[in-house]
Amino acid sequence: MTKDKINTISLDMHRFKALISAYGSDIAKWPEDSRSWAQNFSRDNTEAQNLLSYEKELDEILTDVESKTLNPEALTFLQYKIVSSSTRLPQQKNTNNQRALMGSSIQSLTACFLLCGCLAAGMLSLPYLPLDTIVVATESEQSIAFLEINLLSSWD
């Protein structure tokens, strides 16, 4: 066996030990990305198989204790009790959405008022025109009128 291969096996065993010592003998409960690797690795490895049976013993007792503590019938009854009593209670309304809705309607109303205000001001107020402009305009109007009279008279 080459030195590289021995190193790889020892690294694999290190990884296997790290996983089995945390997650136990049921490889199906190991992190998803390690499962198929662990299955393949343990298939022909005696040390890995010994570890699996060693941890399996603990897992079986743990499962036994767990099932003894959690009686399925009692849990079914508890579930019935929870569902029947909870669903009689009213659910809380989503205040965040309500606040958001309230906020947006206030904004819309404000925008409406502003728009109406602008429109009203536009309708009621006279167009702004400085007094001197009016005078100039009057003078130019007069000169245009004067020109028009002269032109008309020349055609005659």
């Binding site: 030990k17 790290a18 060693y54 941890e55 007792i61 743990l62 767990e66 508890l78 929870i82 669903t87």
Partner: protein, 183 residues
């Protein structure tokens, strides 16, 4: 048809769907009850906490924020409610309320041995920290994925593995003396 996710069920519960609530409760009831029982050591208190946790879930469903995991939320509320109950509970003697399940094994000696190991393990479990017991419950006995369990406990994956490793080592040490030889 694929089974609905917890998030799908929460959306339905938010609209008052009782069937969805029943399904979500059945999915997480065991985990919540086991965590409460581990901390409170008293079935009726654990039932009360479990009921309270799921009632809160029903009542708050319309306000549910989709970014939170339901299992994580349930775990945290359960732990907090259990702590509240422990605070307000009067000091009491440690009574084991769990009923014994009759053993049907033929070999009496073997039965005794198994029973003894179970008792030893129960004691050993009692010596684990709350965090270690919760990690065992979430990873081995609930449908949570490893990362989800780590998130619930507020740990990263490496810390969760380390927690589980220490817990298993303690349990092995009580049951047998071969741990050091094998690892």
């Amino acid at each position: 048809m694929s089974k609905p996710s917890d998030e799908d069920l929460m959306s339905a519960i938010a609209k008052g769907d009782q069937k969805a609530f029943n399904l979500l409760t059945s999915r997480h009831l065991k985990m919540v009850y086991a965590i409460a029982l581990q901390r409170l050591k008293h079935p009726s208190d654990a039932e009360e906490v479990t009921q309270d946790v799921f009632t809160r879930l029903w009542q708050n469903a319309p306000k549910w924020q989709a970014e939170a995991k339901i299992s994580t939320w349930l775990y945290r509320v359960c732990v907090n409610r259990s702590i509240d109950m422990l605070r307000r509970r009067k000091p009491m003697t440690d009574i084991n309320d769990v009923p014994e399940i009759p053993d049907t094994a033929d070999n009496a000696l073997q039965t005794l041995e198994i029973k003894d190991r179970k008792t030893q393990l129960e004691k050993a479990l009692g010596n684990l920290t709350n965090e270690q017991r919760d990690a065992i419950q979430l990873v081995y006995f609930s449908e949570m994925k490893q990362q989800e369990a780590a998130d619930s406990l507020g740990l990263n994956l490496a810390a969760l593995e380390s927690l589980l490793r220490r817990a298993r080592k303690k349990l092995h040490t009580v049951l047998d003396g071969n741990y050091e030889q094998l690892y």
